[in-house]
Symmetry: C2
């Protein structure tokens, strides 16, 4: 897996091919899974956690089948796999492999962070390879990109950047998150700049060694759709940075709100939607796969339309 095509190029190529900036978040909340999926897994497995994890994997495979030709990537949220323990992590691993086999990129949403030598452990786990013995390595949780948290500063981020460079993987650093309290720390002002701007500038710096042939870096930023003014500010500050944009849909961000996250070339951002896509059957009714597919198409089209209206046209 050495020196493959950079993540940023692979992502943009998949986006262009599918004419789609939407990413489907796989957040399999147990209480929202379709009853028939859970019932079938419970009939097969006596162990509760094993049954739950089996239902998560089956559900995810159904969603992947339904959206694989529409979206460039999926974004599993690790919390919902960790809460099912070992079986949950197995479901995560199988989900990632299945998505890759269907041509989808996988962005693990883990928001990992630690001091340098430990960050290297996380980087090995998700973006590179774990050294075992006598030159042998393993890559048990192979994904294309991982979200990371910047609170520890450069030495907690550089190990991820190094792995991304070697293995053609990517990372998205939290800059301005989509949740209501994100301003508490991120919008504090220091020397005339907001913390999120200072972090944004650091992310730009960290990303410089990974700028690809189209001018984008594999060191991306998480920038919430729920704060369009901050997004517009960051887009100017970080022209070479890929934005992963949460907060669209169930969290309140509209298609219009995500437009500032894109550059004038119509590139540079992917928009995540989780609940609105994968649990669409709870509003639309019918089969969960059909509902997810239609919801993904609708979201893709509404984002494309909003981009077109602002003259940000990539395809």
């Amino acid at each position: 897996m050495h020196k493959v095509r950079p993540f940023s190029e692979r992502l943009h190529a998949a986006m262009s091919e599918k004419r789609c900036a939407l990413v489907v978040g796989l957040d399999p909340r147990m209480e929202l899974l379709p009853e028939e999926v859970v019932t079938s897994s419970r009939a097969q497995h006596r162990d509760n956690l094993r049954a739950a994890a089996d239902s998560v994997l089956k559900f995810n495979m159904g969603i992947i089948d339904a959206v694989a030709d529409i979206v460039p990537a999926i974004k599993p949220q690790l919390a919902f796999y960790e809460q099912l323990g070992v079986y949950g992590i197995d479901a995560f691993e199988q989900t990632a492999k299945y998505a890759n086999s269907k041509g989808l990129l996988v962005i693990a949403d883990g928001k990992r962070n630690d001091i340098g030598s430990t960050a290297a452990g996380y980087a090995d786990a998700y973006l590179g390879q774990t050294g075992l013995w006598e030159g042998q390595t393993a890559w048990p949780l192979p994904v294309d990109a991982l979200t990371v948290n910047p609170y520890l500063g450069s030495d907690g981020i550089v190990p991820f950047v190094d792995a991304a460079k070697i293995y053609g993987t990517g990372l998205f650093v939290l800059v301005k998150t989509s949740n209501p309290s994100s301003s508490e720390i991120q919008n504090l002002r220091c020397n005339g700049k907001h913390i999120y701007e200072i972090v944004g500038e650091l992310v730009s710096e960290w990303g410089k060694p990974l700028i690809d042939s189209q001018g984008y870096s594999g060191v991306g930023a998480v920038v919430g759709a729920t704060f369009p003014a901050e997004a517009e500010n960051l887009r100017k500050l970080m022209p070479h940075t890929l934005f992963l944009v949460p907060g669209f849909g169930a969290q309140g961000g509209s298609a219009k709100d995500v437009v500032p996250c894109f550059n004038s070339d119509g590139l540079g951002a992917i928009v995540n939607s989780s609940r609105d896509i994968i649990f669409a059957f709870r509003k639309r009714g019918g089969n969960y796969k059909d509902a997810a597919r239609q919801s993904a198409i609708d979201s893709r089209d509404s984002i494309n339309k909003a981009l077109k209206e602002e003259g940000k046209i990539a395809w």
Copy 2:
């Protein structure tokens, strides 16, 4: 597991009983494990990751046996388990259960963080219970406390606090970390205060609902031994907060450096040491368990001596 004794009380009771403020970090870096442990696991298991995870679990059990009567708690670092995939998470779970069975508290060092509804997923996984169906729950990764990252603000922390209150578990929020770059973001100044001070004040607030009969909260703070001036400042600012202190030993912090993290009653802090304890055999020679035990005793004694010299005597 409802309404058990608060984590802060359980931790202080274990510290007082053992007259020890040292916590042993279980960071099983593959390249540093004793050869005989790895060789034995490789002889038993053909699958590389399974063999690696088996060697981690065996090693951890040996360390736990060696230090169980000396220290109050262990702190496994999740990165080193995640990098062995599903088998690694299994080794983590078995390690936590084995440590609990030997009377040790378990602090999972995962630095988890996310928006509210996802933070609740992590809280379920580590500090509470995962809801499955028909009122059934599971707690696959049961630990006594978890480290968390504050970059997302209150709504990303409150779900952990809520779980801690219900289940008698605890959390340690990153405030001032021990790594060289920690000042990049944490020491920025806003309105006359450093970010780490602002976060410290938030942690105090978050912890108020969990203050125990001794005046300490189950919402703790991570405060590095490598920055004693900041620690002294934070200790005054957060009198009711338990400090988890990394950076002692291999990272450069001395016994004298950790003293400012303790209150004048000699309580309120636990000091982590990982490499210096678990891989002591690489410096001291001999059996890895004996070396770890002796190193734990030496570290415990040096911390107690430094505390005594400053008149901070709890036992």
